[in-house]
């Protein structure tokens, strides 16, 4: 109906793809937030990731309960962030789960 190419994308295509985009973003965010190998090998001492701290508490710190508590904090905070972003962009859980 005469809409420009940009408008078509912004108004029609992207809202339809929203659940797919959200699902992809969630997956990327969770996988990155929980990554351990890449920061261990590529990172230096000035950039310490939370997962590295958890690993250190288990390995050299020897304090398993503390490491487990940190792991729960990581889990809860990532889930909260994902749910918050889903609420802001008005994506319902059922849409992602088709």
């Amino acid at each position: 109906m005469g809409a420009s190419w940009l408008r078509i994308h912004w108004r029609v295509v992207i809202p339809f793809a929203k659940p797919g985009i959200t699902s992809g973003c969630t997956m990327v965010f969770m996988l990155t937030a929980g990554a351990l190998a890449a920061p261990q090998i590529l990172g230096g001492p000035s950039s310490l990731w939370f997962t590295q701290i958890i690993y250190q508490w288990f390995n050299t710190g020897g304090n398993w309960p503390r490491g487990s508590a940190y792991a729960i904090i990581l889990l809860v905070s990532t889930i909260l962030i994902v749910l918050l972003v889903m609420k802001i962009f008005k994506v319902k859980l059922g849409e992602i789960a088709k």
Binding site: M30, A35, I41, Y55, A97
Partner: protein, 434 residues
């Protein structure tokens, strides 16, 4: 149209950038596996060698980690694929209102950080072992078992995703027809559903094996006292690496390539056979032409020859003449080092020893003096060889700054006070304070 050309240009440019970003590090690593320098590097490329593959094969910890990884991979496939299949089938059967919640719960192990899965597996089985009073040798603390179990949690979810997408194209009427015709539920599952899912089972198995092979986050916690390939590599990287790791990357890449080529050949043969069958069914040809056996297929033969020739070339190129090349490289490095030291020495002599050519102010001259060389400053200056009576030239002024007096014989001027016994106290004193 210009817009089309611009779009095509950007699409092609994006594809090039995407694939180079993805495969660039892999390519560089593969090239560094054939470089003879002790640290993996691409430039300078010293000698083409395959010795790092031998080093890789002799690395006992790495080989043990590889064996453990393969064993764990097979175990995970055996557990995760049936679990994924069950989860996918359940999704089709469950109440539509519950379906989103069920899906979220079953898909959550993929989203949960791998470290959390590893820690929870470890702690859970530790608690269970304490409850049963098991010793530390029992299965509750066995690294291989814990890793298989811990990895299966989220790899089953990956397998479930594969099965869900395949099941969406399944026509349930087929299953209902089987049930109508008198099959039991088990028979309907075994004879109708499973054959339809066969390609999905294959891809889920491959996916599960690869996901288990490359997993690090969960494995590093659940592997307790054993090791897998990923944990061995991670610990190696911290203590210093040699190109045997690059050699491992080359091995994996080559295996993948060989597998992909033969898989493609098999697919094409099946497609050709299917087309021939269709032609017969349509009545175009009377009988199906006999397809060549796998070992006689020209594509297979050509692929085998190319691979064997490639391996042979690389092997011979990498083993012939490597020692001479290494000796030549070492000599070149030594020659460069000698030249550098010679240049540095001449520069120092240049600066500190020649009074006729004052390149630096006189105040810097004492700085280049080494310990115990007081009085020797102007020893190598050529002007000292002649009779030195003139006091106007700067050489004379420099000489007159020295504590030595003018002497009659040439060349002896600087050594005047050395052999004087009276100077023994002074020299030792000045030498001692330095």
């Amino acid at each position: 149209m210009i817009a089309d050309r611009v779009r095509k240009f950007f699409v092609i440019g994006f594809v090039i950038v995407f694939f180079s970003y993805l495969f660039g590090p892999l390519l560089l690593m593969s090239v560094s596996a054939f470089n003879s320098s002790a640290f993996p590097r691409v430039s300078p490329f010293e000698c083409f060698t395959v010795e790092w593959f031998a080093v890789l094969a002799q690395d006992a910890t790495l080989m043990e980690g590889l064996r453990n990884s393969l064993f764990i991979g097979f175990g995970v496939v055996l557990i995760a694929v049936p679990m994924g299949l069950a989860g996918a089938l359940m999704l089709t059967q469950v109440n539509p209102r519950v379906r989103p919640w069920y899906y979220t719960i079953v898909i959550s192990p993929i989203l949960i950080p791998g470290v959390v899965l590893g820690i929870s597996t470890l702690v859970f089985w530790d608690r269970l072992g304490t409850m049963f009073g098991a010793s530390y040798d029992s299965i509750f603390y066995d690294g291989i078992f814990l890793t298989i179990v811990g990895q299966s949690t989220f790899i089953a979810a990956y397998a479930m995703l594969v099965f869900i997408s395949r099941l969406q194209r399944f026509d349930t009427a087929q299953e209902e027809a089987a049930l109508d015709l008198g099959a039991t539920n088990v028979q309907a599952f075994r004879k109708v559903l499973l054959p339809f899912l066969k390609p999905a089972i294959g891809s889920a198995a491959v996916l599960a094996f690869l996901a288990s092979f490359e997993n690090y986050n969960t494995t590093v916690f659940t592997i307790v006292s054993e090791s897998t390939l990923t944990t061995v590599l991670a610990s190696k990287v911290r203590y210093g690496i040699n190109p045997s790791i690059s050699a491992l990357a080359v091995v994996i890449v080559v295996l993948t390539l060989v597998g992909a080529v033969f898989y493609e050949i098999l697919q094409r043969r099946e497609a050709a056979a299917a087309k021939a069958s269709e032609a017969v069914a349509r009545g175009e040809t009377a009988t199906r032409a006999q397809q060549a056996a796998l070992y006689a297929d020209p594509a297979v033969i050509i692929a085998l020859l190319v691979f064997i020739a490639g391996f042979g070339t690389v092997y011979f190129a990498g083993t012939l003449g490597v020692d001479e090349c290494k000796v030549a490289v070492k000599e070149e490095k030594q020659r460069l080092a000698r030249e550098r030291t010679k240049m540095r020495q001449s520069l120092e002599m240049f600066k500190g020893a020649a009074p006729g050519v004052q390149t630096a102010p006189a105040t810097t001259a004492p700085k280049v003096r080494a310990k115990g060389t007081e009085g020797y400053e102007n020893v190598f200056a050529p002007s000292n060889l002649e009779e030195t009576v003139d006091s106007d030239s700067p050489a004379q002024q420099k000489q007159q700054e020295q504590p030595e007096e003018k002497v009659e014989s040439p060349g002896k001027s600087q050594f005047q006070n050395i052999f004087d016994p009276a100077n023994l106290q002074q020299q030792s004193g000045s030498g001692g304070t330095n």
